[in-house]
Every structure is written in structure tokens, then in C-alpha cells.
């Protein structure tokens, strides 16, 4: 194992999280913000930290069915995130549109527009499922470093 590999192992313990709400009903965001990732289950023990700016982010959490209006801004914000990055889709909406499917105003499934690495289905997903999704994303991110 070279020094570079060791450094990458250490670097993989500091994944910073950025959330994109692409027209979600807020259910998944509540799970992310208040249950799974901060006070109760504490994702900071994995080294994660919420960041306000996409330029600081490593792991992107996308919630919602990607409405037509938000498609452009979401793609611009996604492009602002420096490589290497990993995308996690939270909830069933990014996969199929969920309760909004067949609506005229959504673009789901979002993997037509974003390179989704991990899907965490559920409406909303359980906190444990979100944590597992983030853990899988960290493993993928380590490969890309």
C-alpha cells in the first residue's frame, strides 16, 4: 500500500454532503435534515458535514421528481460541484416520479439527466436506509479519489 493510497483512505473519511431539492414534497428533506443525518443518527460520526456551498461538496443528495422548472438550475448547481463527486437519489420520486408520476410537469426518472450512483427508494425512506445509502456512496467515492 503506497503513501498515496493511505492518504486517499484518510481523505475518504471526510465526505461533505450537499442537498439538491428538485421539487420534492419535503418529506425526504425532513428525513435527511432532522432524523437521518444530523441530531438523531448523527452522520457526522462518518466524517460527513452539511455544506452550504456546492463548491465544497463531495456527495450530492437529490430529492424530488425533478420538476421542469428546476431542471436547468439543478444541472447548473450540479456542474458547480468539483470532481470527484458521487450522486445519491433519495426517495422514490427520483426513480419513477412517485406520487407525481405521469405528471406533465416532471422529468423523472432523473438518471436521464444526472449520473445517479446510489438509489435509496422509499416514500420517505427510513433514516437507516439513508445512512446506508451515504455509506455506499462513500465507498464509491473512495474508488474515484
Amino acid at each position: 500500500m503506497t503513501v498515496l493510497d493511505r492518504l486517499k483512505d484518510l481523505a475518504a473519511r471526510s465526505p461533505w454532503i450537499y442537498r439538491i431539492n428538485s421539487g420534492s414534497c419535503n418529506g425526504c428533506d425532513v428525513e435527511c435534515a432532522t432524523t437521518a443525518l444530523i441530531p438523531r443518527y448523527d452522520v457526522e460520526r462518518l466524517g460527513c458535514q452539511y455544506c452550504g456551498s456546492p463548491r465544497h461538496a463531495d456527495i450530492v443528495l437529490i430529492t424530488g421528481p425533478l420538476t421542469i422548472h428546476v431542471l436547468g438550475p439543478a444541472q447548473r448547481v450540479f456542474a458547480e460541484i468539483p470532481d470527484p463527486k458521487v450522486t445519491v437519489a433519495i426517495g422514490v420520486c427520483p426513480i419513477s416520479g412517485g406520487i407525481f408520476r405521469e405528471s406533465y410537469s416532471i422529468c423523472a426518472p432523473i438518471d436521464k439527466y444526472f449520473p445517479v450512483d446510489v438509489n435509496v427508494p422509499g416514500c420517505p425512506p427510513r433514516p437507516q436506509a439513508i445512512l446506508e445509502g451515504v455509506a455506499k456512496a462513500i465507498a464509491i467515492w473512495r474508488e474515484r479519489l
Binding site: 484518510l10 471526510s14 441530531p39 457526522e44 466524517g47 463548491r55 468539483p82 470532481d83 470527484p84
Partner: protein
């Protein structure tokens, strides 16, 4: 040449350079860990700030199209360099005394202003509206908290100068030496208002809740740091880690140097720094919400400034009263 080698060691290994960086990161790690415990969470490992730095080294560095790139990338360099210089001026009682040619308290106060200026340059050159808001807030905060620290320095200088000579002294080495023989200024009633003023100054200078208004994540998305990524952001993290050591070290040197030498003095100093960090920073930021910029501005121009001025007046009065 004989002067140069100790200076280089002090700048690169101890107490500057590597030691300051490692200790600053450890202080930040302890702060995050204890804050998590106070909130009933598990919290990150102690070395988390180091992992963050290494991670940022692997990320791509980007600059906005409309940014002034020279200033944009010079700002973090300037801030980190100023802090590497400033740590040289902070004495550790019984362990390290800065050489006389490097400077004194006044130079240190000037150097302490540079990280704030670097953040202002960063915010204004980034072309982001959030950066511009952060710039104006950082400037207001600096105007608010620079006054008290200057008055605190004058109060301490007067008090020590009164006892050891006739004129005020701004040499940190003399201030530490005076306290070792006469007892710490922390236990001097004349200095109590200045101690309280310093207790308000250092959280503001370190930029933590309730005084983290320029970088408020939920309002202006980290303000000046918004557009930084990768190694440039890492330099800002280095700057703030060393700044923690400089500001807390200044507080220890001004008010409570230990009367020991050697290893005991170093261990005692580390314990003092940790206590200052956990009580003045961690407990404060967990227990309070963020102030608005106008509230913080008025607060600093009212209370810490008045308290520091009270110490100056009391010290000056005693000087005049005692002198023949």
C-alpha cells in the same frame, strides 16, 4: 547565521509551522467532538479536521469566470502566511520566548487583523453576491471587535509598565515575565473588566456562533468562502486552525501565564488552551443562536469596549496615583 537557525526552527517546527498547525487542528477536532457530545450525538473522530484538509487536497480547484483570479487565490495565501508569522510572536511561558527582533504586541495585533482582511478580499473578489454580503459583514465585525482588543492591550501595557518601570510596555516577553513574578493579571481586580472584554473578543475573532455572522451558513452560505474549493479552501482551514492557536495563546500570555518551566509548562499551556477553547468557544456556540449583524455591532461597541476602557482608566489612574 546563529540567529537564523533558532528562528527557522521556531517558524517551521515549534511553536510555529507544524506544531501550531497540528495543535490548531486538534483544538478544532476537540471542539467538534465536545460540541457533538453536548448535543447528545457521537460526533466525528478527533482527527476529523486533518481528514478534511487531506480530502480538500484531492479536490479540483475552481474559480468563477467573473472573479478577479489574482486576488481570489492570493487572499488565502496571505491569510495563512500572516498567521504563520503571528504564531512566532506568541510566547509560551517557560517554554518559548519570541526573539526581540521579531516584534511585540502591537505587531501581533496588526497581524491578527490580516485574516479578516483576507476574508474580505476573498468575498469581494469572488464575484458572488453572497461573497459581497459576507465582505460587508466581515468589515462591520472587524470595526466592532478591533477597538476592544487595542484597549485591552493598552490596559495590560499600562498595568505592567506601571509596576516594572515608568512607561507602558508592549513587549509580550516583559508582560509574561512580570506576571511570573507578581502573579497572573487574571487575579488583578483592575484587569477584570479587560478579561471579560477579551472573553467576548476571542469568539468574535475566531468567527463562531453567535458571532459567525460573516460566514453564516444558513443565511449567506458561508459568505466569503462560498466560491472556494479544493486546496484554496484548505488554505483557509489552515489559516483558521493556526489563528485559534494565536488568539488563545495571546489570551494565555496576557492574563494567565503559568509560573513553570520545561515540560510541565508546555503541558499546562496545552491544558489552558484546551480549557479556553472548550469553555469560550464550544459551550458558547452550542448554547446560543446567531446574532444579527446590527445586534453584534452595537453589542461590541457597547459592552466589551466600555469594559476594556474601564480597565485602561483604572490602570492609568493607579499609575498616576502610585508614581511619585
Amino acid at each position: 547565521m546563529s540567529n537564523l537557525l533558532p528562528l527557522l526552527i521556531a517558524a517551521l517546527l515549534f511553536p510555529g509551522g507544524l506544531f501550531a498547525l497540528a495543535f490548531g487542528l486538534a483544538l478544532k477536532g476537540a471542539d467538534r467532538r465536545v460540541a457533538a457530545r453536548l448535543q447528545g450525538r457521537v460526533g466525528p473522530p478527533l482527527a476529523q479536521p486533518l481528514f478534511d484538509l487531506i480530502k480538500l487536497g484531492f479536490k479540483r480547484m475552481m474559480a468563477p469566470d467573473a472573479a478577479c483570479e489574482t486576488v481570489f487565490f492570493a487572499a488565502p495565501l496571505t491569510g495563512a502566511a500572516a498567521m504563520l508569522l503571528a504564531i512566532l510572536l506568541v510566547p509560551i511561558s517557560g517554554v518559548y520566548a519570541p526573539a526581540t527582533l521579531t516584534g511585540d504586541l502591537i505587531v501581533l495585533i496588526y497581524l491578527l487583523a490580516i485574516p479578516g482582511v483576507a476574508l474580505m478580499l476573498a468575498g469581494s473578489s469572488s464575484s458572488s453576491p453572497y461573497g459581497a454580503i459576507g465582505f460587508s459583514r466581515e468589515m462591520s465585525m472587524m470595526i466592532a471587535y478591533e477597538g476592544p482588543i487595542v484597549l485591552i492591550a493598552i490596559a495590560v501595557g499600562l498595568r505592567v509598565g506601571m509596576a516594572s518601570g515608568s512607561s507602558p510596555t508592549f513587549s509580550l516577553v516583559d508582560i509574561v515575565a512580570y506576571q511570573k513574578s507578581h502573579g497572573a493579571l487574571l487575579f488583578d481586580p483592575v484587569m477584570w473588566p479587560a478579561v471579560v472584554a477579551f472573553a467576548f473578543f476571542y469568539p468574535a475573532n475566531l468567527g463562531i456562533v453567535p458571532f459567525d455572522i460573516p460566514e453564516a451558513e444558513t443565511e449567506v452560505l458561508e459568505g466569503p468562502l462560498l466560491e472556494y474549493s479544493g486546496p484554496a479552501l484548505a488554505l483557509f482551514k489552515v489559516m483558521s486552525a493556526i489563528k485559534a492557536v494565536v488568539v488563545l495563546g495571546l489570551g494565555v500570555a496576557l492574563f494567565m501565564p503559568l509560573p513553570f518551566t520545561g515540560l510541565i509548562a508546555l503541558v499546562g499551556w496545552i491544558v489552558q488552551m484546551l480549557a479556553l477553547m472548550l469553555i469560550g468557544v464550544t459551550a458558547l456556540r452550542v448554547g446560543t443562536g446567531r446574532m444579527r449583524i446590527d445586534q453584534a455591532f452595537v453589542f461590541f461597541l457597547k459592552w466589551p469596549l466600555a469594559l476594556a476602557a474601564l480597565s485602561v482608566v483604572a490602570a492609568a489612574y493607579l499609575t498616576v496615583g502610585v508614581a511619585p
